[in-house]
């Protein structure tokens, strides 16, 4: 049957990119001089599986390059070569090249052959120059002994199994150790291994299997169950299963005899080892492979397209609305049955909430997906700048919505880059200031009150307020004699084109960025604030909603209409007394709030609605913040707080100024969600007109 391999391409690319990320992370964790065998194993497997995959799909350039990479890694794995900084650098560059090659293949664009060839040459050179130190014996594999089958004495069957793998068994991903361990779990297993075929170390191919096993299993399970264990190895081995006569009697008779040789599988393996030291290569590889395979079986995952999850989210959103409609109806009923109905509805409500939360969790991913790129970036940047920078990451398992995750990457890259470039000083400056020569960049994520907070900080020089102010004055942004608060000074760095860097580097300093950072964060419904202390460092604190699909809202009423104001934009709600409002130039109304005058924005005027009252002291003022500006929004009344599912108006209509979306309330009617930043802009345009 002709198989269309193209259908697997996407999965291959997805997996490969993920695997390359893992490889990169593992490379960064490698300690020069004393590499951890597990990490090298991980790295090797990535290269190996990409090689295999690309060869299968006919991406020969990728396969050829990865093969060279794999050869080098194999040298490292076998301890025939030392892990040095140049080698890890070389491998990191290989990761980049592999990633670019795969991307090129994915988009059917040409591969930069020169770059690939150059690096491949470097890799080959490194392999040739390896220090020919003899292979140090690797630590013996630590295979956990399987739970000894307790009831061995009364087994229904006694199976004799002759298991002779062909040499390609391992290449096809089968793990004899795992099979033996599974057999061990089924009952009392006696293992005899024939290692006579194993060649000498020089001729040994670590990817081939040379062992032959003769097994005896006293168990209650049938032949089918035993055969199932070898299902995957079918065609890769010679397998004979036969029953020993008179099982119960034999079991009883063999019980004492079995007692000693029926050692756990691992012991049998170990026993085989001293005979031929070469063997250690094979089991090590397998031992590393085993946890992965087990992981697939138990905590397995599947790939689901985000569209499907979004559909599910939508449907659950509908369910929530229908459920609250029913609940409202239920409260109107009376009588005994109504009581039962209400109890049922309450149960339904709980279930629906749980369902909604579960679906939301499906969309949640740990922020490590974004954080994982930073160790590499900080390492490269600090190397280029000649600084010593250590990156400290905490809370990288904090989960947030995938859409938020995708959009937060770029702002964070910018902030981290700034911290390394501007924040951390050169080592000599640091020592002169009495700090350790190595600077630290912090990256922290944690949940706080229904939001996620991400902090990017450094222990560098901090923001220089005087310099920012000076620069702002020279550019006429702040009057020469005007004094402004610290917060206002920090606010300046978010202005477009504002940079105090003495020289523009290719890393940062062109003044493009902080405004974009803030805009991106605002678009996600989040906020960013700055804390800084001169000489001690600065900290950028980003607060983001957990998801974009749901917002905590405050309902307000204006006349007969009701609107939802996102809770995150509300500073305070207050009632003005008559006489507290002043008019500026007979036009705009302002009132004193905390430390300044704020303009009043009459929602009914902007939206052209007939309000209950036009007297400011009869309604309510809601102080809201959008685009860094505060205004007092005049509404009739506050109704209540609720979580609402955001629906786009643009799906069937178009964008409306001052409205960010709509939602469906419990009674099935539609309420509009206010876009506070948009309202502030509308108000400014009106004032200007």
């Amino acid at each position: 049957m002709a198989l269309d391999l193209a259908q697997f391409h996407d999965a291959f690319f997805d997996e490969s990119f993920e695997a390359l990320d893992t490889m990169e992370a593992s490379l960064l964790k490698l300690t020069v001089g004393a590499p951890e065998p597990e990490l090298i194993g991980t790295i090797f497997r990535v290269a190996h599986s990409i090689k295999g995959g690309s060869a299968t799909f006919g991406f020969s350039e990728v396969a050829s390059f990865t093969h060279t990479c794999e050869t080098l890694l194999d040298e490292l794995r076998a301890n025939r070569m030392n892990v040095s900084r140049p080698i890890t650098d070389l491998l990191l560059r290989s990761v980049d090249v592999m990633r670019d090659m795969l991307r090129a293949v994915q988009h059917k664009s040409p591969i930069d052959a020169q770059r690939v060839a150059d690096l491949q040459f470097d890799l080959e050179l490194a392999i040739l120059q390896k220090n020919n130190a003899p292979a140090a014996p690797e630590p013996a594999p630590v295979a956990t002994p399987p739970a000894a089958a307790a009831a061995a004495s009364k087994s229904a069957y006694s199976w004799r199994i002759h298991f002779r793998p062909y040499s390609q068994l391992l290449i096809h991903g089968n793990d004899p150790l795992r099979m033996l361990r599974e057999l061990g779990d089924l009952g009392d297993l006696t293992v005899n291994v024939d290692a006579s075929n194993v060649p000498s170390l020089q001729q040994l191919d670590p990817e081939s299997c040379f062992l032959i096993w003769d097994l005896r299993l006293n168990t209650d399970v049938t032949r089918e169950v035993v055969e199932q264990i070898f299902d995957w190895a079918e065609g890769d081995c010679e397998l004979r299963i036969s029953e020993e006569s008179a099982a119960p009697a034999a079991a009883a008779a063999s019980a004492p005899a079995v007692a000693e040789p029926a050692a756990p599988v691992a012991k049998a393996e170990k026993a085989a080892e001293p005979a031929r030291p070469a063997l250690s290569v094979v089991p090590t590889h397998d031992a590393a492979e085993a946890p992965k395979q087990q992981g697939l079986g138990e905590g397995g995952s599947i790939r689901v397209s985000t569209e499907k999850i979004d559909e599910l989210m939508n449907t659950v959103g509908e369910l929530v609305i229908t459920q609250s409609m029913l609940t409202q109806l239920g409260t109107k009923l009376e009588g005994g049955v109504a009581e039962q109905l209400r109890a049922g509805l309450a149960q339904l409500e709980r279930n629906v909430r749980e369902l909604q939360e579960s679906v939301m969790r499906v969309r949640m991913l740990p922020i490590s997906f974004v954080f994982s790129r930073f160790p590499r970036m900080v390492r490269d940047l600090s190397g280029r700048l000649g600084k010593n920078v250590e990156l400290k990451v905490t809370g990288d398992q904090t989960e947030l919505d995938k859409t938020v995750l995708e959009k937060i990457g770029d702002p964070l890259v910018h902030l981290v880059r700034n911290s390394v470039d501007h924040g951390i000083e050169m080592p000599n400056v640091r020592t002169a200031a009495g700090k350790s020569a190595t600077g630290t960049v912090f990256l922290e994520a944690y949940h706080k009150g229904g939001n996620i907070t991400v902090e990017v900080g450094d222990d560098g020089g901090g923001l220089n307020k005087d310099r920012i102010l000076e620069k702002a004055r020279s550019r006429g942004l702040v009057g020469a004699t005007e004094t402004i608060t610290d917060d206002q000074v920090y606010e300046l760095i978010f202005m477009a084109g504002f940079s105090t860097a003495e020289q523009t580097t290719d890393i940062s300093g062109r003044g493009v960025g902080m405004d974009v950072v803030r805009r991106n964060i605002k678009e996600l419904g989040g906020t960013i604030e700055v804390r800084s202390e001169l000489g001690k460092g600065s900290r950028f604190i980003i607060t983001l909603p957990l998801t974009l699909a749901i917002v905590d809202g405050q309902s307000v009423s204006v006349g007969t209409e009701s609107y939802i104001v996102p809770l995150i934009t509300i500073i305070e709600s207050l009632q003005l007394k008559a006489g507290m409002v002043n008019r500026v130039a007979g036009q705009g109304e302002v009132f004193w709030f905390r430390d300044r005058y704020l303009p009043v924005l009459r929602l009914h005027e902007i939206f052209g609605v007939k309000p209950r009252t036009t007297q400011l002291h009869e309604g309510l003022i809601m102080v809201v913040e959008g685009d860094g500006r505060r205004v007092g929004l005049f509404v009739d009344d506050l109704l209540g707080q609720q979580q609402v599912v955001i629906k786009s108006l643009e799906t069937n209509f178009r964008r409306v100024d001052g409205i960010s979306g709509a939602t469906i309330l419990g009674d099935g009617s539609v309420a509009l969600i206010l876009d506070v930043a948009g309202l502030v802009r509308v108000a400014q345009q009106r004032a200007a007109a």
Partner: protein, 170 residues
């Protein structure tokens, strides 16, 4: 009118089904394949800063659908909304993609077969009467049915101001 007919796919089939509805004394028709749903009138949520004939939005099984009052769109005398007032939900091809729109009409009459031969172009009535959204006129059992080109009629309400980039993803 050749272009209009081709767009509707009516020429090939020879005849197509049309849902007719009334506005005052007149009967209009829309291609039945464009009709998503017919439902009773329910209160809509007004959208600020929109043209007067766009009444607002309502909840159509979870999606937010704008509603147009055809009487106001055609500058007819306004009628009171009663429980018998009907909203026809149509799918409209606009310059920015497929949109669902509700139109408020007085009442739904019938589904009729209209042969392509029976469709006559709308006469030019001078500048007072705009006929660009009339696809053609059909005489069916003695009555004149105005076939509406809903893409032209409603699509403009979407495309006109849709250039602004989306700021919210929902």
């Amino acid at each position: 009118m050749q272009a209009a007919e081709t767009r509707n796919g009516a020429v090939e089939t020879g005849s197509h089904q049309v849902l007719t509805f009334t506005l005052g004394e007149e009967t209009y028709g829309v291609d039945i394949l464009r009709v998503q749903e017919i439902r009773g009138y329910s209160t809509v949520t007004r959208i600020p800063q929109s043209p007067p004939h766009i009444l607002g939005v309502l909840n159509l099984r979870g999606s937010i659908v704008p509603v147009v009052d055809l009487r106001m769109r055609f500058n007819l005398e306004r009628a009171e909304y009663t429980p018998l007032t009907v909203i026809i939900v149509l799918s409209v091809e606009s310059a920015v993609g497929r949109r669902d729109f509700g139109v408020v009409v007085d009442g739904v009459s019938d589904v009729i077969d209209v042969a392509s031969n029976d469709v006559k172009p709308a006469p030019e009535l001078g500048e007072q009467v705009s006929t660009e959204f009339i696809e053609g006129l059909a005489a069916v059992s003695g009555r004149m049915v105005m076939l509406l080109d809903i893409d032209t009629l409603i699509g403009g309400d979407v495309a006109g101001l849709a250039a602004a980039p989306a700021a919210t993803a929902a």
